[in-house]
């Protein structure tokens, strides 16, 4: 019992390493690249889901926090003349530092803007996202509009999916704790939550900061996978892409976000057979999906809620319930 958690963690790390080894030695580089990009998308979608899906606050500036993580970590690994930062572990440390900066940026942006609601919040977060991008556009040290080349390509399938696993675990446990319940209650009814003693503004900002932290992780991984970043990688389109992932997958569902990330990243690749028509077909699929399932593919539920119950998973302390699934 005592060693179960570390054991499961160790097994997961081993499984990810083994899977990465198998994929990278058997599949061609293009497919591996798509899979890794999916992994980065999973992290982005799961993190935005905490704000847009769980807390019910519509944020449109996720790419900005991804940019903070990407630029700060890349600046450490390319501009700091210390060999440690070029090593695999050093890059990992740089990614965490970059993500921490992104989290702090999220906290600072969230503090004033989360007092707004709905459309106004969307516009303000959009604005902050653009401001962050334009700040990097104007910093010569990181290449300005020319971008920052020569970033050590240290992230690969293994590191990206270790982070996917960590993000899933941390956000999943957070949501299924009292802290997560409180975040959900804000989505359900702010006035009632406040009346039940919930410091609504505080938890909105906390959710926003945590979400920004993981956006920063995704940014750092992205930078060290591509080996090159420029401000355009983090423009408004990127933010919208992540919102689409969350909405398609189902607001408030972690596994839904993963599904959404998979669809938005992999579907355009699968549609390459249609060549120039694919960018017409892709939005059409999105429109149909929203018409058929307006609450997203999974709605508020996780994949295992929709499967016939399988023993252990249902013994979680706060279980979501079958009865409500049928409704």
């Amino acid at each position: 019992m005592r060693f179960r958690q570390p054991l499961v963690g160790l097994l997961a790390v081993g499984a990810i390493w083994g899977l990465g080894f198998l994929l990278e030695s058997n599949l061609n580089a293009y497919i591996v690249r798509v899979i890794v990009n999916c992994g980065i998308a999973f992290i982005l979608a799961m993190s935005l889901n905490l704000v847009n899906g769980c807390a019910g606050q519509f944020s449109l500036g996720h790419a900005g926090f991804m940019a903070v993580g990407a630029y700060v970590s890349a600046a450490l690994t390319t501009l700091v003349p210390w060999a440690f930062f070029q090593s695999s572990v050093g890059v990992g440390v740089a990614v965490v530092i970059g993500a921490t900066f992104a989290g702090v940026a999220g906290y600072l942006v969230g503090l004033p803007s989360l007092r707004l609601k709905g459309d106004y919040l969307a516009i303000v977060t959009l604005g902050f996202g653009e401001i962050i991008r334009i700040v990097f556009l104007n910093i010569e040290a990181v290449g300005g509009p020319r971008g920052l080349p020569g970033i050590p390509s240290r992230s690969d399938f293994f590191w990206v999916f270790i982070w996917v696993f960590a993000t899933f675990l941390i956000l999943g446990r957070l949501i299924r704790s009292s802290y997560g319940r409180v975040i959900l209650s804000i989505r359900e009814d702010e006035v009632a939550a406040e009346s039940m003693g919930v410091d609504v503004t505080h938890y909105k900002v906390v959710a926003f900061a945590i979400s920004s932290f993981f956006a920063g992780v995704a940014g750092g991984l992205f930078a060290h996978y591509q080996g090159f970043i420029d401000p355009n990688s983090f423009n408004f389109n990127r933010s919208v892409e992540v919102v689409i992932m969350v909405v398609i997958g189902g607001m408030g569902s972690l596994t839904g976000s993963i599904l959404g990330g998979l669809i938005v990243t992999a579907l355009p690749e699968l549609l390459r057979v249609f060549e120039k028509y694919r960018m017409m077909i892709f939005p059409a699929i999105l429109i149909v999906m929203m018409l058929v399932r307006p609450r997203g593919l999974l709605g508020h539920f996780e994949i295992w809620d929709l499967l016939p119950s399988f023993g252990r998973l249902r013994r979680r302390p706060v279980s979501r319930l079958k009865e409500s699934v049928t409704k």
């Binding site: 446990r173 009292s178 009814d189 009346s195 039940m196 319930l321 079958k322 409500s324």
Partner: protein, 256 residues
């Protein structure tokens, strides 16, 4: 103010632009007292609740719980000091389960931190189990414990009203404000509600301020009644006195 007073409000006033919604509202609630607040539509009853719970800040006046001033506090702080409420138009966390609805009220005294939640330390499981048991006991009091795992929106109307009361009780209040708890209930449900309110009061030693339009309910269980009209208190006293008060009759029926 005597030490026995759980809650005291003195001269609370609030205007919306030119409209005086509440003026000079004073109220004393003894510990464990059950008081009714009645008045015609638009008299300012719910506004009084919103003032007491910090949704609106009063233009003038003071209010205190157990001698501590509540002025300038935001709603969640006021809840922490021991004032809980229900809503006239039910405001449950609709997509959460009945149990989760109650658990949210325990959060302000949650006994574990982020680290414990993320690492799933023993304290997490212990607190979750304790809170779950406490929540189930409260639900059982209202007879809705068998609905614990249903989404709140799927409850029938009467159960939704009951859940609102349970959720407010779960914050462990000294003063409980019930805003039309009997609205929309049928007569047998109302009788049951009266019993429950009386039981809550004796078991939890909580002072209750009750708004309702149902005179039978109010007259039946409240020891004292305050009558509001146009934002001002027009009468205060025992049910019998209130029924005979000419000003109250006038406010409700008009002058002949």
């Amino acid at each position: 103010m005597s030490a026995a007073d759980a809650f005291v409000a003195d001269g609370l006033s609030l205007s919306f632009g030119g409209l005086k919604a509440v003026s000079g509202f004073s109220l004393r609630l003894g510990a464990g007292e059950l008081k009714g607040l009645i008045g015609p539509n638009g008299a300012g009853k719910t506004t009084v609740f919103n003032l007491i719970t910090g949704v609106y800040a009063p233009d003038a006046g003071t209010m205190a719980i157990g001698g501590d001033s509540l002025l300038g506090l935001v709603p969640h702080d006021i809840t922490r000091r021991g004032i809980a409420r229900t809503f006239q138009n039910i405001r449950l966390f609709r997509d959460l389960t009945v149990l989760e609805n109650v658990l949210i009220s325990f959060h302000m005294r949650i006994g574990y931190g982020y680290v414990s939640a993320l690492m799933r330390l023993p304290s997490f499981y212990r607190v979750e189990r304790e809170n779950r048991d406490k929540a189930m006991a409260l639900l059982a009091l209202m007879g809705i414990e068998d609905r614990a795992s249903t989404a709140a929106r799927n409850l029938c109307y009467g159960d939704q009203r009951r859940l609102e009361i349970v959720r407010a009780l779960a914050t462990d209040p000294k003063v409980l404000l019930l805003d039309e708890p009997a609205a929309g209930l049928n007569s047998s449900e109302k009788v049951q509600l009266m019993k429950t309110v009386a039981e809550i009061r004796s078991r939890f030693k909580v002072a209750i301020l009750l708004i309702d339009h149902d005179m039978k309910l109010i007259m039946g269980i409240c020891e004292r009644i305050t009558v509001l009209d146009h934002g001002e208190i027009i009468a205060e006293g025992a049910p019998r006195q209130i029924q005979e008060d000419p000003k109250v009759v006038e406010a409700y029926l008009g002058v002949s």
